[in-house]
């Protein structure tokens, strides 16, 4: 089985959110929903020295992520109908004819990806733009990134950077073994860190 995954180079990302916008546009999503999220994380302090001068260790970094198409997905484990499933390409997607829209996948996913669309009557999520991939194209978020910070492909051929994503605000990779690899930037904080805060909470929560 080929396992597809994403790679994100945090040293390149400028936080422009074109990936989010492209995802929303391509999938015709409402303004409050996107399958890709860009979190702005910031932290640090300012310190005044005895001579009155100020120094700072403040930092900002961005984490752009969608579904991590995990090896051990929390969403498929709790799905009561098997609608949430991994395909032969390792991509996690929803069988809309079987989904009952119970929302368990949405509750369980630590990457905040599946979402129950009550109008459609089923869960919706990032499927890695499976139809585009089948046509030999890249997912729309990858193609839209002007900084080439995103990559997508079979994990054995994918740039693996510093390994599976283990950076805030994401969970430790041991939880679901995500097929999401990151090259960390200097400011990156590890998974579980509470020293940084989400600066664009109103945008992503």
């Amino acid at each position: 089985m080929t396992q597809y995954g994403f790679y994100f180079d945090a040293t390149r990302c400028t936080g422009c959110k074109t990936c989010e916008a492209a995802c929303r546009d391509y999938h015709d999503l409402p303004l409050d929903l996107t399958y890709r999220h860009v979190y702005e994380l910031e932290g640090g302090t300012w310190t005044q020295a005895a001579d009155g001068t100020w120094t700072t260790d403040s930092y900002t970094f961005y984490t752009s992520f969608a579904c991590s198409h995990c090896d051990d997905p929390a969403c498929t484990q709790v799905c009561p109908t098997g609608a949430m499933h991994k395909g032969d390409d390792g991509l996690v997607s929803v069988d809309t004819h079987r989904c009952i829209g119970c929302g368990y996948c949405e509750l369980a996913c630590p990457y905040g990806n599946p979402h129950v669309d009550r109008d459609k009557g089923h869960s919706v999520k990032c499927d890695g733009c499976a139809s585009r991939v089948a046509a030999g194209e890249q997912p729309v978020c990858v193609e839209a990134c002007s900084m080439r910070a995103l990559e997508f492909g079979p994990v054995e051929k994918l740039n693996q950077g510093d390994g599976r994503a283990a950076v805030a605000p994401l969970p430790d990779p041991s939880v679901t073994t995500p097929n999401f690899y990151i090259k960390n930037c200097a400011a990156a904080q590890p998974s579980g860190s509470t020293s940084c805060v989400v600066a664009n909470e109103a945008e992503v929560k």
Binding site: Q77, P80, I100, T194
Partner: protein, 282 residues
Amino acid sequence: MGFGFEHAALAVFTTLAPMGAASFIALAYAFVAGKPDAETAKRLDRWTAVPAIVMVAGFVGAFMHLANPLNAFGVFAGVGSSPLSNEIVAGLVFAVAALVYWVLALAGKLSGGARNGFLVVLSVLALVFAVFCGLAYMMGTIPTWNTPLSIVQMVGYALAGGAVLGFCVVGLAHAEMPKGAPAVALALALVGVLVGAVGFGAQIAGLDAIRNIWGSAAALVPAIWGLFGTFAVCGIVAAGLTYAAGKKAFSPAFMIVACVVVAIGIFVARIGFYGLYMGVAL
């Protein structure tokens, strides 16, 4: 942050369905200890429609929660792996067994011994259902719910609500009970309230140790101890009303009020529980 009203339909389900199921524990007592005559047994059987309706109302709540209830039969695909499938199956096993019991009882096909045995089995199945209702929320990626206390509180709520509802059926059927019945009803209801309060209270007390990028779980529902107190007060009041009603042959008027009060208490606690949702990361 806030409460858990977005899960109100689920709160209706986890309040009413286990309450209706566990009322068979009180009914088992009514038949085993009360030894009703044929006429009283018939009345008890007719009024067993009340817990059945309560349980069905709970399941309607669960269906209301679904975005596509028409696919609901698919939940059997996840039995053994999905905690939600296991919960629904445990509820259906109870419901089918209860239906068979009820039909046989109404048709006069149950002898005293068979009836008592059937009721004991239903009592056990009701508790198993309550356990699975709690298990449904134990997911490794939701640390605030992923505790055996989720099960403990569900068992407590089922016992408390079931005791009050079951003795309400006794009152509605004008069934004569032994002298000690009010004390038994009080004890059952209070044990339920105590178990529920220990489960919910211990869960709340452990919230300080849980946090993710958004902050501490202790800040999720600012009024959580108020919701806990509402459950405890409602539970104790309902238990007291049941005892007082028991002194007057489980006066239906008192018992109906007790049922409403205990259901409100459990519903409030369930809303608080859903408000405590916090993912391991986001």
